[in-house]
Amino acid sequence: MVNLTIDDKQVTAPKDSTIYDAAKLNGIKIPILCHDKKLKPFGACRMCLVEIEQMKGRQIPACTTPATEGMIIRTNTPDIIKARKLVLELLLLNHPLDCPVCDKGGDCDLQNLTYDYELNSNRFIDSKFQHEIDYNNPLIERDMNRCVLCGKCVRICDEIVSYGALTFIDRGIETKIGCDFEKPLDCEFCGSCVSVCPVGALLARPFKHKARFWALTKHNSVCGYCGTGCNLTLGVKDDKVLTTVYDENQGFHKGQLCVRGRFGYQFINSEKRLTTPLIRKNGRLTEATWDEALEIVAGRLKGGTAVAALATPRLTNEELSLFKKMMLENVGSKNYDHSAGYAHRALTEGFASSFGSSASSASIPDIQKSDLLLVIKTDSYETHPVIGFEINMGVKNKGIKLNILSDKRGKLSKLPGANTLVHIPGTEVAVINALCKSVIDQKLADPSVASLPGHAELIKALSDFTPETIAAVSGLTVEKINKLAADYAAAEKAMILFPTGLGYAGHAADLARAVANLAILTGKLGKEGCGVLCLSEKNNSQGAVDMGFYPQDGGDNALQILDACSAGTIKTLLIAGENPVTSYPDNAKVKAALDAVEFLIVSDLFMTETAELADVVLPACSFAEKEGTYTSTDRRVQHVKPAINKIGQSRSDFEIISSLIVKLGGTPPTTPAAQFSEITANTPGYEGMTYATLGNEGAFAPVSIQPVFVVPVAAQVPAAQGKLALVTGSVLYHNGTLSQHGEGPVHVCPEAYVEISRSDAGRSSIIDNDLVTVTSENGSLQLKAKLSIRIPEGVVFIPYHFPAAPVNMVWSGSAVTMVSLSK
């Protein structure tokens, strides 16, 4: 700590703080335009000038000057005020005064400072800038005439997002912010630049002219897309969610969001939302009252074991646990599951057997505390972009060693010092087994683990996975495998991350076992910055597992349920929020099952491809309209509250299930809070939590681990035989099929495509945007081609989110699907 005097006040501040930080910490406000607490000090705007007595009253920037012992600082002498006024005058000389139509009005740092310093005239005259406004993309408007050159956008895009879309162009008075070769902005559209822009130079287009900033009510919430569990502030006016509001103090991610979180909110107030229950009459879905619909549904649910349910892991913990309770106690069926089983197999089968706990042993804040990261399968920046930011910051600011083991390259591969091992798709379990083998052979294993159960079996099984054998199968080299194994074992703190979910089927459970073995073998568990983090796909995937909404005690899993529908043994299927027609593997089989089932009930926000097949459709509501809790991928339990009233006659799934329980003769809890207290009483790790103790940032449900070695089964990768390996998964802009209803993501990434390497494309003379037919044993699909340098030869990538081009027409759900391409 250092002691200093600011404006005659004795203050103390941490040793590494700047004068600006020290003042802020002690409640002294220094005006600034170019500073953001997440970014490195820059000193561009000269608004934060202060006088330091020891420097003979020279004016120096507070944001770049370290606070030192005994400093005597003045922040508002007449000279300083004069200097700041000059800075503002010079900025306003070229800055257009179009505040009445600027969306930033009321939230603009320049406007506020001009007001604070009572600047009502300008001594200088000059012409305004004449830069062309960039309207080329649907999400971010760039009006460089309003820019004050603080450089925050350039820095955030580099330091945190690591995309580097923007730069300072030219120099001196001509300087402006733009993209390389002054092309239009075409980036990840995470909107980080918009969030930090102090003026109206960068604006969110979907929010343009929707509401003045001060007219918005701000509601804290939790993002409804992926399992990262980012905190959101929803900007609401007239009962509509109009935007997301940046709050630099929110959550572990300090308000950082990805394109989905920031721009994907439009599904909430979408025109396409279902507003009334629908009942199929004479082959057509017709509007009905809730009473009619619930009466019919309740009647059908009295079928005992002939009833099955599929629910989306986007439901709250309260809804999932109540749903399960209804199935067990009121319906009398054990057949319920979520996400075709793929979202939870890594947790419930993999981690449960290896760790004795169906949860990840590491948390997101561990990432920046680690020394070495091993990121498996596709780049996490694409599946969980905000976790990608954490990795970026760890690598760039803390020198964390980054290793990537994937079937394709991505943004993380470009980080400084990133070591990318591109393997043949489907061989990841084998490669991790080889890493384990290499750790043992190099005598780097933790000696204390030899006594753990399963050690001997693992050693025996690993004899088939020598680095030499696996190098040949996986397309890697022995040296690379040995080096990665040695680096991982040698690091004091090392962490493994891998994604799961519908796009990452195949051998999720074995992948979890394999990485668990590697972590156990090297003693990388139970310490800060160590462990394994399974990145779940949906916002409440971990919650669905914690609530036990997956088949147990002989219940059918999702794929068995669909088979039983086809076979006629399941007669009633209740689907809450899932869209199997688009997202489950093997489209033809799914459709046949849903056609065959006697009675199909779908509760959803939208008329999905699955809802179109239903006999009764119930309008559900979104996360912004209901109360409950979500559990993030690292087991942070967070509380969401309604930000707006429910749209139309829609009801939360909690209300729907409660009404059904009443009709089935049971007594449901009165509120989600009552259900949550039941959850906390019965769920390990949730003990003692209440809505009040969760607060705004949520609380971690602790995970206790009992490590055991379990031999993972490595998939047999079929020989290529001139075919290409299909890799499916998430694309940056989407998550599940819900983001199809968010304008933002759809604007940027409107349709499916097949990404191919340039060499494979060249061989079939395919060029960008060519329509190509992708054929597998399951079927075929026509898609636009996208040539890419990140895809290795012999691999094609198709994102799975798009109903218009469902990848499940060709994708079988096994570890690798071989396909061929034709024009």
Partner: protein
């Protein structure tokens, strides 16, 4: 950036000869802070910085393309458009101005039809007005590449243009 990616970028733009770029990059690849020497080397090799080469440098050095563009536009020494084989610089500083630099400049324009920073269609000449070449005693002054021509006259302009027009372009 890996050589795999670099290879694929090369295939993407077959019309630009990247061999020269590779030679420059290979020379400096292990030097920390190699962006400036690489870009200078690229400019020497190509006469200017072609956009595709800039993108290629970005891939191989693993630098954002935007960052490269920022550097290229910051320094006056980099050129983003093709430049002539012969760069004619006419001084219009104070000493040259009073000695009639304006006439010299106009004569060049009448012969070559290129103004300040412009390049002739055949890529033979680029014309630049400069503020001072540091040899005011020789005013009015002109330079063609590294050759200096002092005490310029209108006749000398004709001679210079004739001399450099006769040299075959490679």
């Amino acid at each position: 950036m890996s050589d795999v990616v670099a290879q694929q970028v090369k295939e993407q733009e077959p019309e630009v000869d990247l061999v020269k770029a590779d030679q420059v990059i290979d020379k400096y690849i292990d030097l920390p802070g190699n962006l400036m020497p690489v870009l200078q080397g690229i400019q020497d090799a190509y006469g200017y910085i072609p956009r595709k080469v800039a993108d290629y440098v970005a891939e191989r050095l693993n630098v954002y393309p935007s960052q490269i563009y920022g550097v290229l536009t910051f320094y006056a020494q980099f050129h983003l458009k093709p430049r002539g084989r012969f760069i004619i610089r006419v001084c219009v500083g104070t000493a040259c101005h009073v000695q009639g630099a304006q006439r010299i400049k106009e004569t060049f324009f009448n012969l070559l039809h290129i103004k300040h920073t412009e390049t002739s269609a055949d890529l033979r000449f680029t014309f630049e007005e400069v503020a001072c070449l540091g040899a005011c005693g020789m005013a009015p002054l002109a330079m063609v590449n590294d050759d200096t021509y002092g005490k310029m006259t209108v006749q000398k302009v004709d001679e210079i243009v004739a001399k450099y027009s006769a040299i075959p372009l490679d």
